[in-house]
Symmetry: C2
């Protein structure tokens, strides 16, 4: 090959980073790939917009067909975002025999298995490292580095915005709304932060990671999702007293062939490697039967880290082209998905209750837990300023999701409970 | 291919782990590789020894030629250790067109470039993930995941024994000798711990990581090595007071095209991600121009983690065989090695001195530092029980290795200094 031509869909911050890395590291690319690599055409919305990356105006186009129908373009890099149109473009590219690199988690979470199947049918590569970990090469580690092991647990802090917010809330004792505003002004949260703070972004990434790590098609709908917007300073503070750090944790768990996947605010025991992952950093913790504990840590987002992952994928695609093996390394899932029923999804839980300060209340409450097979690891009762009320914090041992839901229903019916202030998943410590 | 036959050199703890994983994960291997994988012959020293892994006695041999000359054996897995004989076996295997997976860091550190060249000439694969990180897929991450970035710094806790000892010394305030004995009785240190505690094991791994990360041939001799056997509880305690954790840190640093590689006991600032890596765990921290900070964490050794890395390498070798691209993905180094001169190797240093408690001593000492362009970040002076003496702790700003050596020479000549108790590298904090 004399040179390789890339078609780039999108020229936002990640797209600009990709252009810069391809230019700046041309020597390294030639060394690795064997020929020059150039970005031939770029799909943009507005060609006349001023940009902080130097690109020849002639490479810009607003017409995707100019790229998809160009037979000299070998590889499509998709960094435009969006789902339905983007999916159509990538399917067309694959049908035309073009290899694809994408950074699009929404697309991969919703249509990953369809796109991977299309790639396989057309003998094309589809790489998507940047869709999950920003700069963390986690897809590669799951696909290759830990390929001979049986993974039983993947836990991740996979959203930088929420980790930044929870770190600040924890360090400064500030309320959620105030820290969210600070994160927005620093560029760590978007104007509409819903997708991040409600856990949807993390859920998409966990669906992708679980699919790959467990070799089965996990859909976004299979992920139980709860966001961080109702977390209070009080719960963070009580968590600290009990030895826990509040984190938004994605968990994918496999017992035999049955799995559960969730994204939930979690009180994580301080000694867990994920508990010390701060600010906008991400990390994925993987437990394999043979390897034991491993963890991958790095920037979760950002223009250059994400662009690095995109270009590293590009290098793999180009090596495969040179070797004539494009699309031949894709694996279909080994297992059929089986989700765990509520009766066998186990976790510990933290309950904070405001109760009437009367004789027998504690006994009434604990009877409900006992009835549903839940025993306690930690109990804390504190008087409240508001007279006649007490605050009770209960941390259970492992309890099934079914029992947990029944306990809540029963607590809600108890006249002596003024309010269930909060409930969180707890991870770590004893049984 | 109907099935693939492996020749295993060595059946110690790692070799037994490899046999077990290949047996237990046969389904996964068939899914990934497309055919059964079996261990056909195993080189051992004593075939009649009783073993905790079930192998057919007929597969055992004491004659390496039975394996190397068997044309039906496609892949050699080397987990026997040793250097000269082992190198000869692997070179013979490569010449005979057999692909190789090795877990041998001594061999790769000393003869890695020669073996990789032989693999390339013979169109064979040579994979060596298990030689560095035990269960951490770091070789893969450097080779592929971060391939498009320019790495400027690799820092690693790459020896489990020393990290275990330093963690215990730090947590318990116990002296080195006592903790070493404890580590030996727990199986975390060998009867002759020299290679671990004197930093040689870590130096071998750093030579391998730096060679790959910087794409140049770094030899073991290029690594400046200092072990942990003279670390005292006092220095760990003072380090803590100043906000540092004592770790044996391997550092590979690139400025433009010049590099430095060392393994030294280091007072690492508590906020550094490596500072919280405890006990026998290992971690490698990588800084790339584009990606920023990433870290890979996991078990540094152990039979099953290392065996997992070996079998994951085996899967890659087998996939390459299936695709007909064995040996075609090896890269020769892109750069010629250039080592930094002492004048441009910079670091901060911690000095602990016992000095005569006289007028002008402090001024005499600091004058020596000033003469060699070293200024101070932290200063601590404490009275000593022994009358007439004081203890001084100095932490410098960045100082060249040349100046550092000159400072020591000058301090040693100063009559008012009773003893230079200890000197350590310091990492983190300000300039």
């Amino acid at each position: 090959m004399d040179s390789i031509s890339i078609g780039l869909l999108g020229l936002g911050t990640v797209g600009s980073g990709v252009v810069k890395i391809i230019e700046n590291h041309q020597d390294t690319l030639i060394h690795q790939v064997g020929c020059p690599v150039k970005v031939k055409k770029i799909l943009v919305q507005n060609p006349s917009k001023s940009r902080d990356v130097g690109v020849d105006a002639a490479t810009l186009t607003i017409n995707p067909e100019e790229i998809l129908n160009d037979p000299t373009i070998d590889v499509i890099i998709e960094v435009m975002g969006g789902v339905e149109d983007t999916k159509a473009y990538l399917l067309e590219a694959l049908r035309k025999g073009k290899n694809v690199v994408t950074a699009n988690k929404d697309l991969m979470a919703l249509y990953g298995s369809e796109l991977l199947a299309a790639a396989s049918e057309n003998g094309c590569d589809l790489y998507y490292e940047a869709s999950v970990g920003g700069g963390i090469p986690i897809i590669r580690s799951l696909a290759d580095g830990l390929s001979s092991d049986k993974l039983t647990k993947i836990m991740g802090i996979v959203n930088g915005t929420t980790n930044f917010i929870l770190t600040k809330m924890s360090q400064e004792g500030s309320p959620y709304d105030q820290v969210l505003k600070e994160a927005q002004s620093l560029g760590f949260a978007e104007a509409d932060p819903t997708s991040d703070v409600e856990g949807l972004d993390a859920a998409r990434k966990m669906a992708i990671l679980a699919s790959l790590g467990f070799s089965m098609n996990i859909d976004l709908d299979d992920v139980l999702v709860k966001g961080i917007s109702s977390i209070t300073e009080e719960d963070i503070k009580y968590g600290k007293q009990l030895g826990y750090t509040m984190k938004l944790i994605g968990t994918a768990h496999r017992d035999n062939e049955k799995v559960e996947v969730s994204v939930q605010p979690t009180l994580l025991i301080d000694s867990h490697p994920l508990a010390s992952v701060q600010n906008e950093f991400n990390a994925v913790y993987v437990y394999g039967e043979a390897v034991g504990e491993t963890m991958f840590y790095g920037p979760g987002a950002g223009s250059l880290p994400t662009a690095t992952a995109v270009v590293s994928d590009l290098v793999c695609v180009l090596k495969n082209m040179r070797l004539g093996v494009s699309g031949r390394n894709l694996l279909t899932p080994q297992y059929t998905k089986q989700l765990k029923p509520k009766e066998s999804i186990y976790s510990k839980y933290y309950f904070r209750l405001h109760v009437k300060d009367e004789v027998g209340v504690f006994s009434n409450i604990t009877a409900i837990f006992a009835q549903h097979r839940a025993s306690f690891e930690k109990i804390l009762q504190l008087p409240l300023k508001e007279s006649g009320l007490a605050e009770i914090i209960l941390v259970t041992h492992q309890t099934s999701l079914k029992d947990y839901e029944d306990i809540i229903k029963n607590l809600e019916g108890l006249e002596k409970i003024k309010e269930i202030k909060s409930i969180y998943r707890v991870e770590g410590g004893g049984r």
